[in-house]
Homo-oligomer: 107 residues x 2
Amino acid sequence: MITTIVYIEVKPDCVNDFIEATVKNHQASVKEAGNMRFDFLQSNSNPCSFVLYEAYETEEEAAKHKETAHYLEWREKVAPFMAEQRLGVRYKAIKPENSLKLNYEQL
Amino acid sequence: MITTIVYIEVKPDCVNDFIEATVKNHQASVKEAGNMRFDFLQSNSNPCSFVLYEAYETEEEAAKHKETAHYLEWREKVAPFMAEQRLGVRYKAIKPENSLKLNYEQL
């Protein structure tokens, strides 16, 4: 499982618009074939500070995400909301060893 | 869903022992009632740099984790392996709104 922690700092007056656009991205991303996680988090200490915790089964599936219409639309939409450049940090999962698909149909 | 990203820097000669202890902690933690995620990650760029991505349904369940025998054993075991103090950063999940339990029985 390939994971990326994306750190995002948003301008204070753009927080609501950013959340709206990112919820839409989340909803489409979790339907991608290789997607294992797409948690959208807001810092407890700073409401302008967000994290996307993304995991894919393979490098190929992670790369494909960046070619999807919903990712490209999100990237363009949120560009003016950024307070600083986004930072994505890559990790490999030691555990779980096998990818576990979240069952969003439970919701 | 309450999430914590724990950043851990390990001394180079302790990496294998740290992984062994943390795999054990992972295996017990995912069986806790309120546990939603316990991903154990290693940085792609630095093999001494690790992340624990932990999520619990509630603050109470997250707090209970720190009282478990497996957590307390892990904490004592890994203390001498740390290259610097661990840092845990708390987030609330905007999405998924409801907690999704990973089904480890799939493995």
